[in-house]
């Protein structure tokens, strides 16, 4: 890999990790909310 390719590789990896982390956080909050709501049923 050339330095440019390596930089691009890192950039994509970082962006993917950020999106995945955000999604995980979103689902943690959503599952918490669902659990609270369903416990009240």
């Amino acid at each position: 890999m050339t330095p440019e390719e390596e930089a691009e590789y890192r950039r994509r990896q970082r962006a993917r990790n950020l999106v995945l982390g955000g999604l995980l956080l979103f689902f943690v909050v959503l599952f918490y909310a669902i659990t609270i709501v369903r416990m009240g049923d």
Partner: protein, 305 residues
């Protein structure tokens, strides 16, 4: 940079997102939300949100599986050649796994958080689109658009069942409306966009049966749409507000399909009536489902019967 280096790169997350067909998903979310809001009964906002999220995830998952299966076909058509898979920006296996993961997750979450009947219909919708339509019937019959319309017809039904927990006439009618709306909507587009489906061996109606037959079929579905769109009102599933709006919208649909049905396009034709019908068909669906929701909310508030 050679092609092999390009495919070894991890795919950009935007390509995963593009694979879920966000444009189609907007209509799916809208009709699903309308079904949910128009259904009688109460659903907690968090559960309602989850139901819509699951419908969107399921639609995304089946769209990914559709493009995984059709990547070679897409490569042969100008309109689709730049999608992530035919353009070589992503591995086939990654797309397949992503599609399966989205589909399974959407059904599981729907079942656990909302209900297993809604989850079962969601699973049926995914299998219907990804397997029955994409893999089996689309490459085999010029009725593929009619069959494909079935997959777009599921969202409002799932949204409705998420609230009520049972299947009655109303969710089935919402299904029927989109089912009969899709063929004239798509064929109007197919008449003025000369696509290269023929080149890749997909038997689209205008190519196989000819323009004349396609125009007549557009009219047939537009006629059927009038009574079908009015039936929710006729069986007292909705109020007068919806009934009058549905009749007016469907009659206008029929009026716009008449010139399309009885003309023949010559060389250099601007295809004005076809473009008008296509543009109106989108407005029609939005207005019809909006009327359904306004009608239901107005009756819940007791403004009028």
């Amino acid at each position: 940079m050679t092609a092999t280096t390009a495919t070894r790169m991890p795919a950009d997350w935007r390509d995963f997102f593009a694979l879920t067909k966000p444009g189609v998903m907007r209509l799916v979310i809208f009709t699903g939300l309308c079904g949910l809001l128009a259904a009688p009964g109460h659903i907690h906002p968090v559960i309602g949100f989850t139901a819509i999220l699951c419908i969107a995830l399921g639609a995304g998952g089946s769209a990914v599986l559709n493009q995984w299966w059709e990547s070679e076909i897409d490569a042969g058509m100008k309109r689709t050649a730049n999608r992530p898979l035919p353009a070589g920006r992503m591995h086939l296996v990654d797309a397949r796994d992503f599609g399966i993961a989205l589909s399974v997750a959407s059904v599981a979450l729907m079942g656990v958080a909302v209900g297993w009947l809604a989850a079962s219909i969601l699973a049926a919708a995914i299998v219907y689109y990804a397997v029955i339509y994409t893999m089996w019937l689309k490459p085999r019959t010029p009725q593929n658009i009619v069959i494909g319309g079935g997959s777009g017809a599921f969202p409002p039904m799932i949204g409705w069942v998420a609230v009520t927990g049972d299947i009655t006439a109303m969710p089935l009618l919402l299904f029927a409306i989109i089912f009969f709306w899709t063929p004239p909507h798509f064929w109007a587009l197919a008449l003025f966009v000369k696509s290269d489906y023929a080149k890749v061996g997909i038997p689209m109606m205008p190519v196989v049966a000819g323009e004349r037959a396609t125009r007549r079929q557009i009219l047939a579905y537009s006629i059927l749409l009038v009574p079908i769109a009015a039936t929710p009102w006729l069986i007292s599933g909705t109020g007068t507000l919806y009934g009058v709006t549905a009749l007016a919208l469907s009659l206008a649909f029929l009026a716009l399909s008449l010139p399309v049905a009885f003309r023949e396009a010559g060389e250099g034709d601007m295809m004005k009536p076809e473009k008008r019908l296509f543009a109106y068909s989108i407005l029609y669906l939005f207005a019809l489902f909006a009327a359904l929701v306004v009608d239901a909310l107005a009756r819940q508030q007791g403004w009028f019967a």
